[in-house]
């Protein structure tokens, strides 16, 4: 299987097409609902003032996101009391909830990849064309398996404020398996399947009971 290292350059991004399985290695950041809302409100649309450690965290995460990968994941982590963190279970969460924010977040941080499950919509697909970037689909529910690709937890941000599932975890992974389902050429496996399954459904609805 093709292996890709993070950070990822544009040339590699453009060589990726929907349906291709790849393995990712390098450092990525987790982030889901609370993180996207926080990024947009505090730093992109600036509808709220940075407070507490916001600015400091922003500087820290920027370096991970530059040509990097954001993983939609709310992990189970052990070692919370000793701070010797270990990823126990870490599969993808449903990505579509970040649809209003994702393209802007990709652009702002120069993100090259987003990992999640279930796919995303037209706004993010356009974001993938513009960046250029790709959407990687991980196997939903395969949490123990995917946690084993995590070699090391490098740090965690907003743990107290957002809680374990919603915090930003910087993790080093090795051979993290994904499938490209949205590419930088405007193709989406999800919209293709939505369309083909819609046709079958229309036909099923006309069948007699």
């Amino acid at each position: 299987m093709r292996e890709i290292n993070i950070p990822i350059n544009d040339e590699i991004i453009r060589s990726l097409h929907v349906g291709e399985p790849v393995e990712l290695s390098g450092v990525m950041l987790t982030g889901r609902d609370a993180v996207h809302k926080w990024m947009i409100e505090t730093f992109i649309k600036k509808t709220r003032e940075p407070v507490g450690d916001d600015l400091q965290v922003y500087e820290e995460i920027r370096k991970y996101l530059q040509q990097g990968v954001l993983y939609h994941c709310g992990p189970v982590v052990s070692g919370l009391e000793t701070r010797e963190y270990k990823f126990v279970a870490a599969g993808p969460t449903t990505s579509i909830r970040e649809e209003p924010y994702q393209a802007d977040v990709m652009k702002h941080f120069n993100l090259k990849g987003v990992i999640g499950k279930g796919g995303m919509g037209v706004k993010t697909l356009q974001g993938c064309v513009d960046a250029p970037g790709v959407y990687f689909h991980a196997v939903g529910g395969a949490a123990t398996f995917l946690a084993q690709t995590v070699q090391k937890v490098l740090g965690v941000y907003k743990l107290e404020e957002f809680g374990v599932p919603e915090a930003m975890w910087a993790i080093e992974v090795k051979n993290f398996p994904v499938v490209v389902t949205m590419d930088s050429h405007g193709q989406s496996k999800h919209s293709l399947l939505e369309e083909s399954s819609r046709k079958v459904l229309d036909d099923l609805l006309t069948r007699p009971y």
Partner: protein, 291 residues
């Protein structure tokens, strides 16, 4: 009354980390239907590896350890108040041991309680009294948020789908729900369908029906036939594991019928992801059996 906290903790551990055999068997059988080298087959292979690893390591099958839904069948005279406390203590301990992710978030203040306990409704506990000579049985289902979010409720008639107030109409709306879910509920899924009731009871029953084993058919031949037909037709849509495209979208369908008001005809669909986590413990004297 005996303290069952440790036994309930064991029930939680088993439920979160060890997928029931009947579900695993179905997943294993579906691999052969997918083309070698396809993304669909790859997803199923990863799923099966994950099932084995999580069982061996006592780690969660899925990081979304879901809403803990308990059904307690207690012999007459048992204190449900004490049982509720024991369930809560066991759940907090299971969270500490990483069998469970802290999953209870205050909806108003966005604060995660950190121990899976939140108000009177988290976890969700249903009590049902049985005769005094019957054993205490506790069933647990963990249902993740991804699949819960693609659940759907229809109020028939549905003109857009041409679905009337009969089983033909039920068939149409259930197929619509599967198409709308795509791979987002972590396909291949299992459908719990409830017909009738009010909006609340209808949704509750659509989950309750998921406690039965794979392949369990409704005793009413009309419903049994519809269960099989829905599974087959859902798979014709080609959505496949994870929505990668493929032959296996739905592993099984379970239907139950309720009474309804003359004015209402609800159909509720609870979509259960492939990580179909349900276990049962039975207390017989000093012995506790798990299955």
């Amino acid at each position: 009354m005996r303290d069952l906290t440790n036994e309930i903790l064991e029930l939680i551990r088993r439920t979160s980390s060890s997928l029931p055999k009947d579900v695993e068997d179905r997943l294993r059988a579906s691999i052969e239907k997918e083309e070698p080298g396809s993304a669909a087959r790859g997803a199923l292979e990863t799923i099966l590896k994950n099932i084995e690893l999580s069982r061996a390591n006592s780690t969660p099958i899925c990081q979304d350890t879901g809403t803990p839904i308990f059904y307690v069948h207690y012999p007459e005279g048992t204190s449900t108040r004490k049982l509720r406390e024991q369930i809560k203590t066991a759940l907090a301990e299971a969270t500490k041991r990483s069998y469970m992710r802290p999953n209870a978030v205050d909806a108003i203040y966005d604060k995660n309680t950190g121990n899976n306990l939140g108000g009177d409704d988290f976890p969700s506990i249903h009590f049902e009294e049985v005769d005094a000579d019957q054993p205490l049985v506790i069933e647990l289902m963990l249902k993740g948020g991804g699949c819960e979010n693609v659940g759907a409720q229809y109020s028939l008639p549905d003109n857009k789908l041409g679905a009337g107030r009969d089983l033909a109409g039920v068939r149409k709306v259930v197929l619509d729900a599967v198409q709308k879910a795509q791979g987002k509920g972590c396909a291949p899924g299992i459908l719990g369908v409830s017909i009738g009731g009010d909006r609340g009871s209808s949704y509750i029953k659509s989950k309750e029906v998921l406690f039965s084993k794979m392949g369990t058919r409704n005793e009413d031949p009309k419903l049994a036939e519809l269960e099989e037909r829905l599974t087959k037709e859902a798979n014709e849509m080609g959505i496949g594991p994870m929505g990668f495209g493929g032959q296996t979208t739905v592993l099984d369908t379970k239907i139950t019928g309720l009474h309804r008001l003359p004015a209402s005809y609800f159909v509720s669909v609870s979509y259960m992801c492939w990580a179909y986590r349900r276990r049962k413990m039975t207390v017989k004297g000093q012995e506790v059996e798990y299955d």
